[in-house]
């Protein structure tokens, strides 16, 4: 038996399960290097920080999505919940004049409640997450329009200070939203790796039937991940409303796809059970850097922009695939 275990430990190198993440990270670095070589101002570290500033809300949303996808589910409602949050915050703050410390928890609660509701329907009535969250998407977007169809500016002092204050170190700066997003990532990484909730999430993604038969709290976990996703969407919405200082029913259209793409590019399997929040962070950065590359170039027409985004995505995923396949 001793040789056997030797063979096995030789086969499963400790870092093997992190390989996709490492591959993504190195490709990302490569992409940044190419950008820095081609565009003068690209090498500036502030460009990287700007990617964080510009994608903090997406990051938070994608973290929530990671939980859902890890269970093998999907949440299409995130973009709409983001929009609803901005709209709700704006209308409560500006049209009702409610104070920020009431509005903030309230909108987070609304987002979580929506997620909770969808989770319950998905679990108890055994309906595919795709349609339930699609209905949730229609609902949240529809609620936005019932609040109003035009965009509402926010000038609540708290919101404005969150939007415009900068956390500086030397000549570089980030926005408070970035700090919030990073904290969310850290908490999520901890929850997934070190708590029962996190491990149950992976277990359900691995095999839901087994998870049930192993006596894991499937109901609680499934509902919890959709609630988390709802919460993260709402938090993302708050960050977006910091970013934009406005509420609008057409904000974050299609953000669910960005979030899903970020999660999947980060190496998480859409079938569930495998992936890391760190990967999601990298996925968001990949999308952000691609976009930055294109604005720095500034010569592409609208359609070439799309084609180039697709092509870069393709090259990236192809390389990622090649690297991980060879090492396996």
């Amino acid at each position: 038996m001793s040789t056997l275990s030797e063979v096995r430990s030789r086969i499963s190198l400790p870092n093997q399960k992190y390989l996709p993440v490492l591959a993504t990270l190195s490709l990302l670095a490569l992409m940044y290097g190419i950008g820095a070589a081609n565009y003068e101002a690209f090498g500036d570290a502030q460009v990287v920080l700007n990617v964080f500033i510009d994608n903090g809300f997406l990051l938070v949303v994608a973290v929530g999505m990671t939980f859902v996808i890890l269970t093998g589910g999907i949440d299409l409602s995130v973009g709409s919940v983001v929009a609803l949050t901005t709209m709700l915050s704006a209308s409560l703050l500006e049209e009702r004049g409610w104070p920020a410390f009431v509005v903030l928890p309230l909108v987070l609660l609304v987002g979580s409640a929506l997620g909770f509701g969808m989770g319950c329907i998905i679990h108890y009535f055994d309906i595919q997450p795709f349609i339930v969250t699609l209905a949730g998407m229609f609902l949240a977007r529809g609620l936005c329009y019932t609040i109003g169809t035009s965009s509402i500016p926010i000038d609540d002092p708290f919101w404005v200070s969150m939007a415009q204050s900068r956390i500086r170190f030397g000549e570089y700066f980030v926005s408070p939203s970035v700090v919030v997003a990073i904290i969310v990532v850290l908490i999520a990484a901890f929850v997934l790796a070190y708590t029962r909730l996190g491990r149950n999430t992976y277990a359900i993604g691995g095999n839901p039937r087994s998870a049930l038969l192993m006596g894991l709290p499937v109901a609680r976990t499934k509902i919890a991940v959709y609630t988390i996703s709802g919460f993260c969407s709402a938090l993302g919405g708050v960050l977006l409303s910091f970013y934009m200082l406005s509420g609008y029913g057409l904000h974050a259209v299609g953000m669910e796809l960005d979030a899903i793409a970020a999660v999947v590019i980060g190496g998480t399997l859409l079938t569930g059970g495998s992936g890391y929040v760190l990967g999601t962070l990298l996925g968001v950065l990949v999308l952000g850097v691609i976009q930055t590359l294109i604005t720095f170039d500034g010569r592409l027409s609208s359609w070439w922009t799309k084609i180039v985004i697709g092509a870069l995505l393709f090259v990236f995923i192809l390389l990622q695939r090649v690297i991980t396949a060879r090492k396996r």
Partner: protein, 499 residues
């Protein structure tokens, strides 16, 4: 449990069954495939709702809404198919839901330490931090058992835990079971191995066609009686089983080998080996758990790509690009893990059976429906698949019947080499004899068979030649003559000498 009834659409799985389980006993639940054993267990632990009847635990009426609740009430279960999460590590699979924590934070290192200790108790020495899916089915079964016994429960339910375990692992399991019994745990045990029943159990309850036949004290029941109770008729089966002769070696004409593996190997899976298989020959593979039998079979079939050596078919080297090319050379492979590598659970019995045959013909040439029905009916009868409904969804079949469906899929392709990896896993004795007879008949008819089974007796009974594996090396090839028996093979393995 009293008066339990459970009905699925179209099938009465249990009708008015009484069952009791006392503390400090090992109680065997017996019956043919599809008798309702697993259903009884699932009803007891709340996986299914009961239509009728009552469950009493420690004198109080209970009705669980699911395994979680049953676990809280002190019932720990290993369900029939390995129900673990393949994407998690071995240690996690053992401890998930009960991880050692400090301030809510899971203590990974402690968990892995304890998992390793626990598996040592079952004499299993593996890397517990590796993903479960990298291990063979047998190891997974052991892990599931480890999980169940570590939940210090009042009741331990084991549904066919030994179906792919070797004698020594079974021995370890029994040791632990006896220990738990001493501690007053009530153990419910399901198996199709009659000798195991008589070794370990105190009492036996027999089910037949979803009805209770009776409850017996093991000591007072003879083997013959038990079989009689299970199948409900007199026992030609068992007699046949005993009188089956060893296959006659001499009768085989040796021509050109059908299949010849030359230094075939794959890094990390199995060391390069040589093996020849002739037409009409049954070659058995023997070895301990994880010795590489499955790997040998998969390499020959091309399910995994070999990175060394070559394979000759009819004396000509062939490039194995995957199962497809193997099938092109009339090689068939019935895999050990029917659930992940065998059946398509949502499809019907008919579709599963004709699948491989259809795959060879390609999608443009469907097998005419009439022919499908003929073939399927023939094998449903031959293997006694129940329910005998070709349109039943395979997911809803009992474990043993699923195995028969998988077997039927490959038998109808009429290959020249049939690779059977644990084909009798979870199959009742009646059907097992039937399958053994079939294999013998097929080899008489000229089909070569590579036979892998954890049950050494079975290998000995069927094979002309036995290849012995140890630690992923093929160490010996023994002609199955009169001198060879189980002990001799164990000796060979133990000495590790290369022949």
């Amino acid at each position: 449990m009293t008066g339990i009834s459970k009905e699925f659409p179209g099938v009465k799985a249990l009708s008015d069954v009484d069952f009791r389980l006392l503390p400090g006993e090992v109680h065997a639940l017996m019956g043919e495939n599809g008798a309702g054993k697993s259903t009884l267990i699932k009803v007891l632990t709340g996986v299914y709702d009961i239509d009728q009847g009552q469950i009493t635990l420690d004198g109080t009426d209970v009705r669980f809404s699911g395994p979680l609740q049953a676990q809280h009430a002190g019932i720990s279960t290993v369900y029939q198919e390995v129900n673990l999460c393949p994407n998690l590590s071995v240690a996690e699979n053992i401890f998930i839901g009960r991880e050692p924590r400090r301030f809510g934070k899971i203590q990974w290192s402690q968990m892995e330490k304890r998992a390793a200790e626990l598996l040592k108790r079952l004499q299993l020495d593996i890397d517990v931090s590796a993903q479960l899916s990298t291990y063979s089915l047998a190891v997974q079964q052991m892990v599931a058992i480890a999980r169940a016994i570590d939940i210090s429960a009042k009741v331990l339910i084991l549904d066919e835990p030994t179906s792919s375990l070797d004698a020594s692992e079974v021995e370890q399991l029994f040791r632990v079971m006896r220990q738990l019994k001493e501690e007053g745990v009530a153990i419910l045990f399901v198996t199709h191995f009659l000798d195991q029943v008589f070794t370990i159990s105190d009492r036996i309850t027999v089910l037949r066609n979803g009805r209770l036949v009776g409850e017996y004290i093991t000591r007072e029941l003879s083997l013959i009686d038990l079989v009689g109770k299970m199948i409900g008729k007199e026992l030609e089966v068992l007699e046949q089983l005993e009188e089956q002769p060893k296959p006659a070696l001499a009768a085989l004409e040796r021509g050109q080998p059908l299949i010849e593996a030359q230094d075939l190997g794959r890094k990390g899976a199995v060391a390069p080996f040589n093996l020849t298989i002739h037409k009409g020959e049954v070659v058995g593979l023997a070895g301990l758990l994880g010795s590489g039998r499955t790997e040998v079979a998969r390499l020959i079939y091309g399910a995994d790509k070999a990175d060394q050596g070559q394979l000759l078919v009819d004396g000509k080297p062939v490039a194995m690009r995957g199962p497809r090319s193997a099938m092109g050379h009339d090689i068939a492979f019935c895999s050990e893990n029917r659930r992940t590598e065998g059946l398509i659970e949502e499809l019907t019995v008919r579709e599963n059976i004709i699948l491989a045959m259809q795959a060879v013909r390609g999608w443009t040439r469907p097998i005419p429906r009439r022919r499908q029905d003929e073939l399927v009916d023939k094998y449903i009868k031959a293997l006694d698949i129940r329910p005998a409904n070709p349109e039943a969804i395979v997911r809803n079949l009992s474990g043993g019947n699923q195995q028969k469906v998988l077997l039927a899929r490959w038998l109808i392709t009429e290959p020249r080499l049939l690779i059977l990896d644990e084909p009798t896993r979870g199959i009742d004795i009646g059907a097992k004899t039937e399958i053994q007879r079939l294999v013998a008949a097929l080899s008489d008819g000229g089909m070569a068979v590579l036979f892998v089974s954890a049950e050494l007796e079975e290998v000995l009974r069927l094979s002309h030649k036995i290849a012995v594996l140890r630690d992923r090396h093929l160490i010996a090839e023994l002609a199955n003559d009169d001198e060879v028996d189980a002990d001799r093979i164990m000796e060979t393995i133990a000495s590790g000498a290369r022949a």
